[in-house]
Amino acid sequence: MGRFIWHDWARFVAISASVYLIWAAIWGILYRKFFFDFIDHTYTSGTPPLPAKCPVQAILEFIVRVPVVQVVAMIMGFVTLAFEYPAPFLKGTFMQRNFTFKTVFLVFQAMTSVLFYQGTNAFLWSLIAAVGYTRAVMLGEVMSLEESQDKITTAWAGAALTAQP
């Protein structure tokens, strides 16, 4: 039948990943835990006490003591939502239309997500979306200006323009 348009699919995955991430970050602030603390079995909130020379002490400060990572991740989730949905003021801008930018941003979002306990699935999904956009770049897909203006209703405007081999 038709042609699979990678950036259209990646957009849905990116939106899902970001909604998940925002939700996960809320819970990450309530229940703070560094994802990689299993490496040296340093338990949450320092119970049982952390070893004196915890190699990741600094990152624990920013996840367990002050939930900076969670807040940053949440903001990134909102930013992704803003350029993916898209928010009216981002319609037609490079943030919405440039897939390379989106790929890079999603990879950063994934890297931030993976740091805290609740963010693992958001990490995975953001990476999947980034893979989708990478594929879109590889195939030379572009989002036309018309498509970007009416992202929610037109399913075919972009298809017609990008389906040229």
Binding site: M1, G2, F4, W9, A24, W27, N121
Partner: protein, 560 residues
């Protein structure tokens, strides 16, 4: 249309059936959630787990609802069972809406997954923090059956949901079709989700060496897999049955190429029984060994063959065209001839005849398999006195079969209560449906009672100047309409549904339309619609609004 709370409430509850469905379906889920919560919270044997408080109660409640959803999600996909049950349960529920229900289950599933997963993230966090069990949170997440299958199901869900989106599905059906087969692994993960024995009253999981590999003495889950495995088994059986049925002897007898660019496949399959208005899946192993493509059956059950009409619009259909020796280039030249035919003065019926693809020139015809039939038969047209058949765009295809079938039954004098048929066809460019036009003109020419069948064709595309001249020159005084070559005149623009229905009502009331109508009895006017759902809503509203005390208007949307 803006989505407001009021609109949603109105839409969900204004219709009694819809309201009952909502109350039952969401009530059942909420009830199960409450029961799951309560049975966990009050279970003395699970007292240690209950120290986790709200998170464990909500995870258990949501888990029970998810078990229900996991059982329900496959039920609307049991296509063959639905086809058998449909007429028996028509009074109870609209079983044509099976895919709609499948989606509702999926939406519910997404919501309860959110609740369940969130709660478990809190559960395992607190298990680790309080050392309720001597484990790390991530060990429960990624080393135990529950965690592994759960995360795996989440992965399957993001892939399945995202590719099932309307936009992706219409762009590339295969992406949706293949990805949706992750459902097999998803469902296996669902059935084994509780085998890790997370809900237990013992310190260690109570595993056994025999099926189901854990002991229910200490593993106190809901054992829901014992109930929800049955739809899974039924579905698996159905797929096996479809595979066997698809392999029954089938021969592609003839391939006819219609000048308008459609290929007609005439297929012989003695074991294939169907009714008008149904559809089938076709597979052509030479083109693709796995893909099954849905097509509307265009022959009537009385015809000695099963036919479908294929237009070469996508990868697969073009590949099929190439395989039978009627590839896009052949079609293009034929279509050009057909288009040129419009310019000609109507000498005879039709736009030139179809061309048969000669098998000796093009090698043997490919092997085909067909699976079906599916969908609701339109036998209901014989239960109403006036049938209004509305086909919009490509949605006109089921009416080929239905009109032929009506014609066959008319010949046999076996029309049931059907007295008149109004056929309304809304189309953007009629020439691309040339094969349908020739069929219509055959049916039209065969009419003996001039009042039985009335056709109205609405052409919605803009007309260019030469076409306008063609109409101006050829229309007045001609026997046939210049655009469609039918006796019925083409109407230009979009139909005004309100006036169509009110005229129909007035005509019936004045007793011109159905002579001898008993005004004391109810006259039923059934609308049978096939086309885009946005238009369906408009037509449905107008049709239902026209109902009076003595004339009942009904509406049915065909699915294909």
């Amino acid at each position: 249309m803006k989505i407001s709370v009021w609109n949603v409430i109105h839409q969900e509850f204004h219709n009694r059936r819809r309201a009952i469905f909502n109350v039952l379906w969401y009530g059942l889920q909420l009830g199960l959630f409450v029961y799951g919560w309560w049975s966990q919270a009050t279970n003395q044997r699970l007292a240690p787990l209950n120290t986790l408080r709200f998170s464990v109660w909500s995870s258990r409640g949501a888990g029970l609802v998810l078990a229900l959803d996991g059982g329900m999600i496959l039920l609307p996909m049991l296509r063959n069972i639905i086809r058998v049950l449909r007429p028996k349960l028509a009074f109870l529920m609209p079983m044509d809406e099976n895919v709609w229900f499948h989606r509702q289950v999926a939406y519910s599933m997404a919501f309860w997954t959110m609740v369940h997963t969130t709660a478990h993230y809190v559960n395992f966090f607190n298990v680790e923090r309080t050392q309720l069990r001597p484990q790390l949170a991530l060990q429960i997440h990624y080393e135990q059956a529950g965690g592994i299958t759960g995360h795996f199901m989440l992965l399957c869900m993001i892939l399945m949901y995202s590719t099932a989106h309307h936009k992706i599905r219409t762009q590339c059906f295969e992406a949706f079709w293949y990805t949706h087969h992750l459902a097999f692994f998803f469902i296996v993960a669902l059935y084994t989700h509780a085998t890790g024995c997370f809900v237990r009253d013992s310190a260690k999981p109570d595993y056994t060496s025999f099926f189901p590999y854990y002991s229910t003495d200490h593993c106190l889950g809901y054992e829901s897999w014992r109930f929800i495995i049955w739809p899974g088994i039924l579905y698996f059986g159905e797929r096996v049955y479809r595979e066997i049925r698809g392999r029954q002897p089938t021969t592609l007898e003839r391939v006819l190429v219609h000048p308008s660019g459609a290929m007609e496949f005439r297929i012989q399959k003695p074991s294939f029984k169907y009714m008008a208005g149904q559809w089938l899946f076709i597979q052509i192993p030479d083109v693709s060994a796995f893909q099954w493509h849905p097509f509307t059956i265009t022959s009537a059950p009385e015809d000695p063959y099963v036919s479908i009409h294929i237009r070469q619009v996508g990868d697969w259909t073009q590949a099929v065209g190439e395989r039978v020796g009627a590839g896009p280039s052949v079609m293009a030249s034929l279509t050009k001839t057909a288009m040129a035919g419009i310019e000609k003065v109507n000498d005879d019926l039709g736009r030139g005849d179809f061309v048969e693809v000669n098998s000796s020139n093009w090698g043997t015809l490919p092997l085909v398999r067909i699976d079906g039939p599916y969908g609701g038969p339109t036998e209901d047209v014989f239960n109403v006195e006036v049938a209004v058949l509305i086909g919009a765009g490509i949605g006109v295809t089921p009416f080929a079969s239905i009109l032929k079938h009506i014609w066959y039954r008319q010949r046999k004098g076996n029309l049931g209560s059907l007295r008149r048929v109004e056929f309304i066809w809304i189309v953007r460019d009629a020439p691309s449906f040339g094969w349908f036009q020739s069929l219509l003109s055959e049916v039209e020419a065969a009419q003996t009672d001039p009042n039985f069948l009335r056709m109205s064709v609405y052409l919605t595309s803009k007309l260019d100047e030469s076409t306008l001249w063609n109409i101006a020159v050829n229309d007045p005084g001609a026997d046939f309409d210049p655009m469609t070559l039918l006796r019925s005149r083409t109407l230009y623009g979009r139909p005004d549904w309100k006036s169509i229905y009110s005229h129909l009502r007035t005509a019936i009331e004045l007793e011109q339309y159905l002579p001898g109508r008993e005004s004391s009895l109810k006259t039923s006017v059934g609308t049978f619609f096939c086309g885009p759902s946005s238009l369906a809503k408009i037509v449905r509203r107008q049709a239902l609004a026209t109902t009076t005390e003595t004339i009942e208007f009904t509406f049915a949307k065909e699915h294909f």
